[in-house]
């Protein structure tokens, strides 16, 4: 399988006059073609920071990014602005939670689609664009009528579908969905997830899905990465991690979700709060809230281990520090 994206030792630091906030620390992972990776964590764990860094949307003067993100031969962190413009939307697309709010209220949906389409293909004809658009609309279960409507005439779910359709205009290789379905209703969310899965098969797309909802990941992704305080705690396949989480944080996160039909287990939260990210911490970042904490956890940072030949875990519980 060919690798689409390889992130290596990525660090993202927000800077201001008073302090530095280490939002993402030493994150490495790879995504193969056709994968769908779910990035899960609490709010403030740095999942969106990571995604915005891959898209290079951070303001330059206040963020320091180091490390590498190899996206099909190009390093997303260091390429020039011009190369990046070529890449955006063509190869790399994004849908945010509030993407629907970025549609212009005074232009018809169709006009906006034409506008965006012509950014990369300036000579495209109206016919060509509307053909492509109607194909994408049918993928996300919208009627062609939408093409001639204004955003205020559509509901939130329909607008979010439009945003997803627009993000796919140029057949991107990698799609990043940043909480794209969080604001929607259960039924709408279920349907959009279904449509995304269908599209993926048809368009041969790779996807990163950022969410705080484990159940969304378990029903729509094949890989999952658990993030806590800017670090990856556990990475692996969904069918390995969800029934059999190794890292205490993953275990805690999973036990705070009730299951829909299974037996009613006692719900347990994770005590404590996210640590202050403006201080550099020694040892394991999760140690202060961990239920299995040992002496070593407070002193030495755990390294990534492959447990059971399957999932990557950063925890002292699974082997010494070799």
């Amino acid at each position: 399988m060919s690798t689409i994206l390889e992130v290596k030792n990525l660090n993202i630091t927000y800077k201001n006059k008073k302090k530095n906030v280490y939002a993402v620390k030493d994150v490495s992972f790879t995504i193969n073609k056709g994968d769908s990776l779910g990035l899960v964590g609490e709010s403030g764990s740095g999942k969106s920071t990571l995604a915005t860094a891959l898209l290079r949307l951070h303001p330059k003067h206040s963020t320091v990014i180091t490390g590498k993100a190899n996206f099909m031969g190009k390093d997303l962190i260091s390429i020039s602005e011009k190369e990046l413009l070529d890449l955006r939307w063509n190869e790399l697309a994004v849908v945010f939670q509030k993407s629907m709010n970025s549609l212009s209220p005074v232009h018809r949906i169709g006009e906006q689609i034409e506008d965006i389409y012509r950014v990369h293909k300036p000579k495209a004809t109206k016919k060509e664009i509307s053909d492509r658009a109607s194909y994408l609309m049918s993928l996300v279960n919208l009627s062609n009528r939408v093409y001639n409507l204004y955003p205020h005439e559509l509901s939130g779910g329909m607008l979010q579908r439009v945003s997803i359709a627009i993000s796919l205009l140029h057949n991107p290789k990698l799609l990043i969905l940043d909480e794209a379905t969080t604001a929607l209703d259960v039924v709408t969310q279920g349907q959009i997830l279904d449509e995304i899965l269908k599209m993926e098969k048809e368009m041969d797309m790779t996807r990163i899905m950022i969410t705080h909802d484990m159940s969304v990941v378990s029903s729509s992704c094949n890989k999952v990465a658990i993030m806590y305080a800017g670090e990856l705690m556990e990475v692996g396949c969904v069918e390995d991690i969800i029934p059999n989480p190794k890292h205490p944080y993953t275990q805690g996160l999973l036990s705070s979700f009730p299951s829909l039909k299974g037996e009613k287990k006692e719900l347990r939260g994770i005590p404590g709060y996210l640590p202050d990210l403006s201080i550099k911490h020694e040892g394991c970042i999760f140690a202060t809230r961990c239920k299995d904490v040992m002496d070593i956890c407070r002193k030495i940072k755990p390294v990534k281990k492959i447990v059971d030949n399957k999932q990557e875990v950063s925890c002292h519980l699974y082997g010494g520090d070799d």
């Binding site: 209703d185 279920g190 279904d194």
Partner: protein, 329 residues
Amino acid sequence: MDNNTYIDIKNISMWYPVNSGLKSIGKEKKWIKAVDDITIGIERGEVLGVIGESGCGKSTLGRVLVRLENPTSGDVLIDGQSTKNLIKNDYKAFRRLVQIVFQNPYDSFTPRDTIEKILMRPLRIHDIGKSDADRNTIIKEALEASGLRPAEDIMSRYPHQLSGGQLQRISILRSMLLEPKFIIADEPVSMLDVSVRADIISMLLRLSKENNASVVFISHDISLTRYISNKIAVMYLGKIVEYGDSEVVVNEPKHPYTQVLLSNCASIDPNERMNKLSVEGEPPTPINPGPGCYFAPRCFKAVEQCFNKYPDNIVLENGHYVACDRYNK
């Protein structure tokens, strides 16, 4: 309803007039039927979960139950007493009896007051405790019992200095200090992080059990609602379409809408994955729906008769009922 019913919601409706300006003059008045003729009973100490899509009227129901809005028609009986009369005769007693916890903890506190002041106010108004020093100890004990330690430190803080989880805990405490018998929790955890949700839920349940209070838990999260409630009511466009024991409703849903809702609910366990039933379109507006079943235009079981008459409640075993004529077809 049986004799154990403590809260008796009787034919309650909340209609809002539609104001469409000059055009509507002389025409028949239009209504948004946010809550339409709901009858339901809650026992002492029971937790009733209300689920449904956004815009189905679940929050309006909550607001009407605490009388933040006066219902268009219908009444709620608490222990046989009409709340309509209760609120007229003794406003304070009613407010002490019925309390609500809102969704957004950041918005439900005065930003200029310390937590101590915020928690002190309801105690003073309702004359709980003999002196301020007495009330101070009550607050301190309650905070400590809910894991907000050190209590003195928290009491001297302002709302913006606390996290969402802490604030929601205080919000629940503020309601619970009055020892209400009827609590409405309107999406109390949907703004919070998953890792703190569980603690807040257990705290809410523990406190309501101590008081033997009845709880209405409004949420769109089906798995969570099933976890905490004894009974579940499913709402669609202001009407209850299915009601029953939470296990029964979740495991053997009868109404097509409940089936759709459940099949689209993403579950954490990959083995629980179901075939999704799809519905067409979005919920229609609640402006003069009907005359048939409100769900009929989106329903996969709909036949012609569904469009003509709103179905009656069909009672199944153990109080489980469903408003669908074709539930077993």
